[in-house]
């Protein structure tokens, strides 16, 4: 079984599968990471991904180009982010409760809208999704061949990692975001509008969550299903801790999880396999928890995470 696993690590189709599984996790994790860097936990991600998956797909189904679908998904995410921002920043409500509320609302609303739009279908309507950028064009060249066989949204995910890292660590805006997440009082004294920065960051982070959801309906698959996010949002929330709130490590964590998942799907088939399939399905989660224990113990979380900021209060 070990040799099988090693063989897999050298095969192209395996890595293409890894990137396909990882893409929504990478983008979703970046979204959660941004919100938390500004001091706000966003448990709305699971529902926002459902809503993004729906609106992105719907836009394309109604005739819009694929990239307009991507924008629609991001706009949907942003709107729910705005709601979460208003609830948790100026109104200072419990971030857990508001986030879970958004997940329930966005999930139910998406499905309601789907059913109202398609009252009579018996098989889900489909679209023409994103295709591989240039399949087989780079055959034989390691790494490049894998990227050539992936869809544009996977490329976008990698670009976003670099972009988010650059914004957070190399721009004044990023400094402001990190500051309101560490010490909002100090930020305020520097003339930074804590409320505006926090809400803005939540909107941007939630737009990424919407985008993450749309990968499933615009790239990995071609139709919308009610339960298709299937816990991927929650995995992103855990991956942020694994990543110690750093974009580069978030990428690593998402890929590691995807490696475990792609591998278990293949190792289930190895002859002489006596383990029940449920154990294999559990493997990515178990290994993630193990990795979490090893990596995240020393993680320093944003100091003002989940602490609402009230002006003038000490």
């Amino acid at each position: 079984m070990l040799s099988e696993a090693l063989q897999l690590l050298l095969s192209d189709p395996f890595w293409v599968a890894v990137l396909r599984i990882a893409t929504p996790l990478i983008i979703g994790t970046l979204g959660v990471l941004m919100c938390e860097r500004a001091g706000v936990l966003n448990l709305g991600i699971e529902g926002i991904m459902v809503a993004g998956a729906y609106t992105g797909w719907l836009a394309v189904y109604l005739g819009a180009p694929l990239w307009v679908g991507v924008l629609a998904a991001m706009a949907t995410g942003g709107l729910f982010g705005l709601l979460h921002g208003v609830l948790t920043v100026p109104l200072a409500l419990s971030q857990h409760v508001a986030g879970l509320g958004i997940t329930l609302l966005a999930t139910s609303l998406s499905y309601f809208a789907y059913r109202v739009t398609f009252p009579k279908v018996t098989t889900p309507p489909t679209i023409q999704p994103f295709q591989a950028v240039a399949p087989n064009a780079m055959d034989g060249i390691p790494v490049l061949s894998v990227f050539a066989a992936s869809t544009p949204l996977t490329w976008l995910a990698f670009a976003l990692v670099a972009l988010v890292a650059w914004v957070l660590y190399r721009t004044p805006v990023g400094l402001a975001i990190r500051m309101v997440g560490e010490n909002p009082q100090a930020a305020e004294s520097q003339g930074i509008n804590v409320t505006a920065v926090r809400i803005g960051t939540i909107v941007a982070g939630s737009a990424l969550m919407g985008l993450a959801g749309s990968f499933l309906t615009l790239s990995a698959f071609n139709a919308f299903f009610f339960n298709m996010i299937n816990g991927r949002g929650w995995i992103c929330v855990a991956l942020v801790v694994f990543a110690s709130w750093r974009p580069g490590k978030a990428l690593l964590g998402a890929i590691l999880f995807a490696v475990f998942d792609a591998m278990q799907l293949r190792l289930q088939q190895v002859p002489g396999n006596v383990l029940p399939y449920q154990l294999w399905l559990m493997a990515p989660y178990l290994l993630s928890i193990a990795a979490l224990i090893l990596v995240a113990r020393k993680a320093s979380y944003p100091q003002a995470l989940m602490v609402p900021y009230r002006k003038g209060e000490r």
Partner: protein, 338 residues
């Protein structure tokens, strides 16, 4: 004071008048509705789910014929199931359908509490007198036939099967399919994966890709997503419960099709005549009662080797004549591929 009471009296009078008029209207509405039998269904998954789509289709057909007035709730969680069932029973539905697999005890209690309502529920259990009948997707016969075709179509000798959960409803069809494939190709090997979800097509697709990477060239599409993987890689797929060949004309070779019309039409007739009793509707999903069939080969009519078609058609006839019985095996299927 007097003025006030006067106003109040006028108010009361007008409200009463409206109420009377309203009741009269409602009454006539009820009378109209009584002409048609009221039927309700409670599903735990969306209408698009393969299994439920077949029930939904048959009930919609009955409604289109003007026989019944049909209402349904989809996506009802198991925790809410009993409440929704009770509500439909109280609203005066004569016949209620659904799936009681995960809520067996609660559903049977509802049936006891509403003895005048007839229930036909998807269940692995026995019928419960006097008003609780059971059905299940006993379509192992066409599954066997579709397996024979799969065995004849595979070139690598490897068939991939992706399932949701290893429950009897899935297992028995997989076993029948495997037995059929072995009849036309004794050397054929199987890969089996369960993804622990009814609704995660990207994951089902991923599992199918994993099998195709390992050499499978015919996929048993128990879930949405599997045929898509086969289509993308230019491999073949066998459909289950529904026929999706129109969406994948170059991919889906054949399908084991479930028809709920015989079960539902029988139940509706019995309810109407007041003769509905507790019975097992399993046999009305079998081929001899037209409850299931090997879907028309369509685009693959000419692409399947002639001897395989001949063998399959001969087997089909034997099943219809009662000369061959497909074994029902509810145990969890295992991979055999090397």
């Amino acid at each position: 004071m007097q003025k006030h009471s006067l106003i109040r009296r006028t108010l009361i009078k007008s409200v009463a008048a409206t109420l009377v008029a309203g009741t009269a209207l409602l009454g006539s509405g009820a009378a109209l509705a009584q002409a048609k039998m009221k039927v309700a269904a409670v599903y735990t998954v969306p209408f698009e789910q393969q299994w439920v789509s077949r029930i939904h289709k048959a009930l919609n057909a009955a409604q289109a014929r003007g026989e019944i007035e049909y209402k349904a709730s989809e996506n009802v969680s198991n925790a809410d199931y009993e409440r929704v069932m009770r509500q439909y029973a109280q609203e005066g539905n004569a016949f209620i359908m659904g799936e009681s697999f995960a809520v067996e005890a609660a559903a049977r209690k509802v049936a006891k509490d509403f003895p005048k309502v007839s229930f036909l529920m998807g269940s692995s259990g026995k019928p419960q007198a006097p008003n609780f009948s059971v059905f299940d997707n006993f379509i192992q016969e066409p599954a066997y036939l579709s397996g024979m075709i799969a065995g004849g179509m595979t070139k690598t000798g490897k068939i991939g099967m992706v399932g949701g959960f290893p429950i009897p409803e899935v297992n028995r069809l997989m076993h029948a399919f495997m037995a059929g494939a072995k009849e036309t190709n004794p050397k054929v090997e199987f890969m089996v994966t369960f993804i622990n979800s009814w609704f995660d097509p990207p994951k089902a697709k991923e599992a199918a890709f994993a099998m195709i990477d390992k050499g499978a060239d015919v996929m048993y599409a128990e879930r949405f997503g599997v045929s898509d993987a086969a289509k993308e890689r230019g491999k073949l797929a066998i459909g289950n419960v529904i026929n999706t060949q129109d969406k994948y004309p170059e991919t889906v070779v054949s399908s084991a099709l479930w028809n709920m019309e015989p079960s539902i039409d029988r139940a509706l007739k019995l309810v109407k005549e007041g003769k509905f009793t507790a019975e097992d509707y399993g046999q009305y999903s079998m081929m001899k009662n037209k409850g299931s069939e090997l879907a028309p080969l369509g685009t693959f009519e000419k692409k399947i080797p002639a001897d395989v078609v001949t063998k399959t058609r001969a087997k089909e006839k034997m099943i219809l004549d009662g000369k061959f019985t497909v074994k029902v095996d509810d145990s969890q299927p295992k991979s055999t591929a090397k």
